[in-house]
Structure formats: C-alpha cells, structure tokens
Amino acid sequence: MLLEIERLHVSVEGKELIKGVDLKIDYGEIVAVMGHNASGKTTLALTLAGFPQYKVTSGSIKFNGQEITHKTIDERATMGLALAFQSPPSIRGIRLGHVISLAGGVNPWSPKPGDDLDLPQRMLAKVNLDPQSYANRELNVGFSGGERKRSELAQIFAMRPKLMILDEPDSGVDIDSLKIVGNGLREYFRSNRCSMIIITHHRHILQYLEPTRVHVLSGGRVALTGSYGDLMPKIESIGYERLIREAGKIE
C-alpha cells in the first residue's frame, strides 16, 4: 500500500474536524473523495500534506511504508506526496518558472551540470500555458481560476510524485480549462502511473480519470465507499444527504 490512514483524528484550533478516518490507497490507484462543503475533504488533504495547523490528535498516516505524522511539509513533498491547492496563494517577486524548477529539484539560480533547465517550459506546455511567458510570470499573480489550477499541475508534475492530492482541480474553471486539466491529468497518469486522490464535487473531472473507488466524507468521517460506476449516479440523482441516510438504514 502506498498510503494507509488509520483511525485518524485531526483538530484545528482545538476543534475536531476529522473524527476517525480509515483509508488505503494502492500504488497506481485513483480514488475520488467527495462530500458536501465542510465535510472534511480539504482538512484531510492539508493534513496529509503536513500543514502544522492541522494537528493529528490520534491515529496514523503511513506513506510508502513510513509513518509520516511527524514529518514536515517539505519532507513529505520530497518523499513523493504532492498537493495541488484548491486556492493557491499568489506571490509577487517570485517567478512561476523558478518554482517549477525548484519543485523538480533544480536550483534555477545556481544550476548544476546536468540539471534539467527546460523543465518549466515542458511542464507548462503540458497544461497549455505558454511556456515562455508563463515561466516569467510572477507566481499566480493575476492568474484566472483556470490558470491557477493549471499552474498547480505544472508545479506538481515537475515533482514526479508517488501520490497526487488534487483539491478541487475543477472548481472555478471554465469548460476549456477543465478539458486541459482533465486531459493533462489523464496523460500524466498514463505515462507515470502515480496514485491520485481527487477531491471534487462534480462528475466532470472524474470522467477523465475513472477512479477505482469513491469515498464520501460527512462530518469528518468516511460515510460511504463504493465504486465509481455504482455511487456516482446515485450521488447525482439523490445527493449526499439522502444517500448517506439511506445507506445508514440499510446497515
């Protein structure tokens, strides 16, 4: 197993937001995490990435066989865990191309012989951002919703991660960007076979990626688990709330 989450409890500022989550993801597996707003999806993503505000009060997270609960954000990233943010910050004075290089392990200010200097251009081309101009743009400054999501992908593609956590890669993007994001991810998966967790509200992005499983979060717990083909139509026709209620009755 690439990722094993066991009985995970997470608090932010004393408030428990994840209340006992168990989740396993195999190498090369794609899973979707869905659920209504404030169900704990983003909390789970940021906890896995190691954000210190998200305190693991009990339980464990094993990544590639290693306990990572006490590892820092950058340590987890170098181990192969990459997060594409739902709303990434914009930072003045820092060029997107430089961050893509750094994500790929190249110091753009003092490269070593043999370093891949075209990495930013290649990664930007994968997400249909003009390589020359976007490499020199300040990080996410003045980017549209869709451009931000594509900038996120270009950065995490450069990391060549074992696990991608994509936090709503489809929110706030127009239909053209959705296509680029969807195709970009599918392409990347085909050639790299990395595992993915896709957090989303919609079927559209999942059509490109066909996850093996769908988990529905509610109140900080995994309320439902099922196959994409089985759960997705039900979610779309009756919504999370009723589905969870009805599933409860059956149990």
Partner: protein
C-alpha cells in the same frame, strides 16, 4: 588659484562642528583618522569588493571614477565619452570658476556636524556633468572606497545634468574587507536642469563597524526627472541619511526607491523628503525593507505639496523576520496648498506563513523558502536600471539564500 572664496564656508562649518543632526545617533568624529595609511591600489580583492557595489572597474567603455580613502586612482575615459565630464571635485573647482555657484547651494554647509566636517576635512569626491541635450548611453560609475582602518572619508560630490540631457550614474560605497572601523560622510549636491533626466543608483556595502552619514540634496528644474535607487544589503553599524529633493520647476518629478536588508546589530535610519514646490510637480517614494537579527530600522518619508496640481505618494513595505528586530515607519504628508494630492500606505508584518508553507509543499526546505520569499519581496524591478545592474542587485539578493542569511540559521 586662491581658495579664498571658500573661506566663508569654512567659517560657517567651524560654527557647526558640534551641531547634532536632526535624526540619528550622535557620532564622535574625533575617533577617526582623516588621512589614509594604506597605499591605494587596485588588487583583486578591491576589484571584487567594488563589483559587489555595482562598479566594474575593468569595464573600459564606461566613464569610471574610483577613489580610495583620499586618493583618486582611476578617473578614466571621461574625455572620450561625448558630452560627459568626470573628474575629482577639487580639480573641477580649480578649472571652472562657475562651478562655485553649485558648491553648497543645494545643501547648507552648517546643516550639522557632518556637513561641517565634509567641508573642513574634505577628501575629494566626484564631479560629473552631462552637457546639454547629450544622452550618455552607458552608466557612469563611481566608487568611494575606504581602505584604511579607522578612516573618515568625506567626499563632496556634484552632479549636473544639463538641460535636456540624460544620464545614469551608479555609485558604490564600500570598505575594504580588512577594514573594520570606518566612517563615511559623503556630501552630494545634484542639479537636474530643464527637461533633463538623472537616474542615480547607489549601492552600499559596509562593515559591522561602519558609521555612515551621507548628506544629499537635489534641485530639479522644469520638466526634469530625478530617480534615485538605493540598495543596502550587508550589515552596517549605524547609517542615517535623509536626502531631499526640491522640485523647483514646473512638472518636475522625483522618485526614490529604497531596498534594504537589515541584519545583525545594524541601526538604519533612512528616509527622504520631497518638496513639490512648483506647479504640477510629482514625488514618489517606495521603501522595501526586511529586518532580521537585532537590527533597528527607521523609514522616514516626507512629501510636501506646496503648489497646485502637485502629487505625492509614499509607500513602506516591511517584513520582519526576528522578534529582536524592529521597523518604524514614519510617513509624513504635508499639504501647504489646497490643490495637492498626497497619499501614503505602509504595511509591516512577518513573513506570510501561507506563502512559506506553499513553497515547502513543493519540496523546498524552510530555509531556502524563506530566502526565496525575502528575495522576491525585495526584488528590485527598478525603473531606469540597466539590466546588468538589475542582475547585479538580484545576484546580491540571491546571496541571501545561499549564505543562509535570512534563514533560521541567523540568530534572532
């Protein structure tokens, strides 16, 4: 030629030798020596040091002035560059009687003890003049270098951008790697004539025991533009400066850009004052400062609107990385006319954790991420700067993350 005309300045200076400056700590100037005790030379160490402040003495195509302690050891090519004059101020004063009209005109010799000592113990300085309507393509370089331990260097600089001319001057001030204690009291009087443009870039690189008191004033005539770029990255003992721009002619413009990285025990009191005297004049001042260690930074900015259609804007952006450092922003807007528009914005805070975590999530270590954020925050993008100098300043900034300065390694 007799120096009698200077006698009145000497008398005024003698009256002011104990006069404290308005701002900054009082420095005991008797602790310093006034004549150098090293043989001025241009070895590799000197060249390297000089390059750090943006002056390339091996660039044979630019007008270059190099002064070590009291001795001018390089004042090259000025005669070969059309429309440019470059020589030591004392030589220029001997040569041109008319230049006396520019001597202690923008500044008062009795302003404080530092202007006084600059008159009484004057150690050369540069005179740079662009002839009317000449556009000097390559930046003119000037370096004031202190080589002797305990030396006080007090040059008197005069720059005249004649009517319709354009000039870009880069001044680097530094001390030798072996020199610890030093003082620099540079007097600079600049004159930007009608329709002329002067871009003046100053890069400072001092030692932990250097006391620095530059005194600068510029008079800008009708339609003239003065742009000042100031960069300070290495630690200094104590620096105080408050250059003043007098926008005396209609439509004159002044812009000050200040970039500072304050570290260790540096005491930095830097500001500027812009007087919008004539109709339609505009002034702008932007400070960007990062404070670490035990440094104390004061940013003073003042814009005075004295005539109609005048505009002024002050901006101070500060990032504070250590709890033992401090930044004080003192913006002053003074409206002395009903038809003036003045504004300021100041924001000081810690490094944004959200940005730090974001970079870390790309596998960048916290130390490197802090360095990158600091560098990005200070990134010059200064107007009117040649690419070589932009690159030079960026290079200086990138040393911040390589040397680990600005990272957690630096004691807070």
């Amino acid at each position: 030629m007799s120096d009698n005309w200077r006698e009145k300045f000497r008398m005024q200076a003698l009256q002011a030798v104990t006069k404290r400056a308005t701002y900054g700590n009082d420095i005991d100037l008797s602790d310093f020596i006034y004549s150098g005790n090293v043989m001025p030379s241009m070895d590799d160490g000197t060249k390297r040091r000089t390059l750090e402040v943006g002056v390339d003495v091996s660039d044979i195509k630019s007008g270059t002035y190099f002064q070590m302690d009291h001795a001018v050891i390089l004042s090259q090519l000025a005669s070969k560059i059309k429309g440019l004059e470059l020589m030591p101020t004392d030589v220029a004063l001997q040569r041109y009687e008319w230049l006396r009209e520019y001597y202690w005109k923008a500044l008062s010799v009795s302003q404080d003890k530092y202007t006084a000592v600059a008159e009484l113990k004057q150690t050369k300085g540069y005179y740079i003049r662009s002839a009317p309507h000449e556009k000097i393509d390559r930046p003119v370089q000037a370096c004031l270098y202190i080589g002797s331990e305990g030396m006080l260097q007090a040059p008197h600089n005069i720059i005249i951008a004649e009517e319709g001319s354009e000039m870009n001057v880069i001044t680097g001030c530094t001390v030798d790697a072996k020199t610890k204690k030093a003082a620099h009291v540079g007097v600079s009087e600049f004159y930007v004539k009608k329709g002329a443009t002067l871009v003046f870039t100053m890069i400072h690189s001092w030692s932990d025991e250097a006391y620095v008191r530059p005194r600068t004033s510029v008079i800008v005539e009708e339609g003239g533009t003065f742009i000042s770029n100031y960069v300070l990255i290495k630690p200094v003992k104590d620096i105080q400066s408050y250059p003043t721009a007098y926008l005396a002619g209609r439509g004159a413009t002044a812009k000050f850009n200040t970039i500072m990285y304050a570290s260790k025990d540096s005491i930095i009191d830097l500001g500027n004052k812009i007087l919008c005297m004539a109709e339609g004049t505009t002034g702008e001042s932007v400070f960007k400062v990062v404070a670490t260690g035990n440094s104390k930074v004061y940013n003073r900015g003042q814009i005075v609107g004295q005539n109609r259609f005048t505009k002024g804007h002050l901006e101070c952006r500060g990032m504070i990385l250590c709890p033992t450092a401090s930044i004080t922003a003192i913006p002053e807007l003074i409206a002395e006319h009903s038809d003036t528009e003045l504004s300021h914005e100041a924001a000081i805070g810690k490094l944004q954790e959200e940005q730090l975590h974001y970079l870390m999530s790309r596998g960048i270590s916290p130390d490197q991420a802090i360095g990158i954020l600091v560098k990005g925050f200070l990134d010059p993008g200064l107007p009117g700067l040649p690419e070589r100098l932009q690159a030079e300043i960026r290079g200086r900034l990138s040393m911040l993350d390589r040397s680990g300065t600005g990272s957690k390694k630096e004691p807070c």
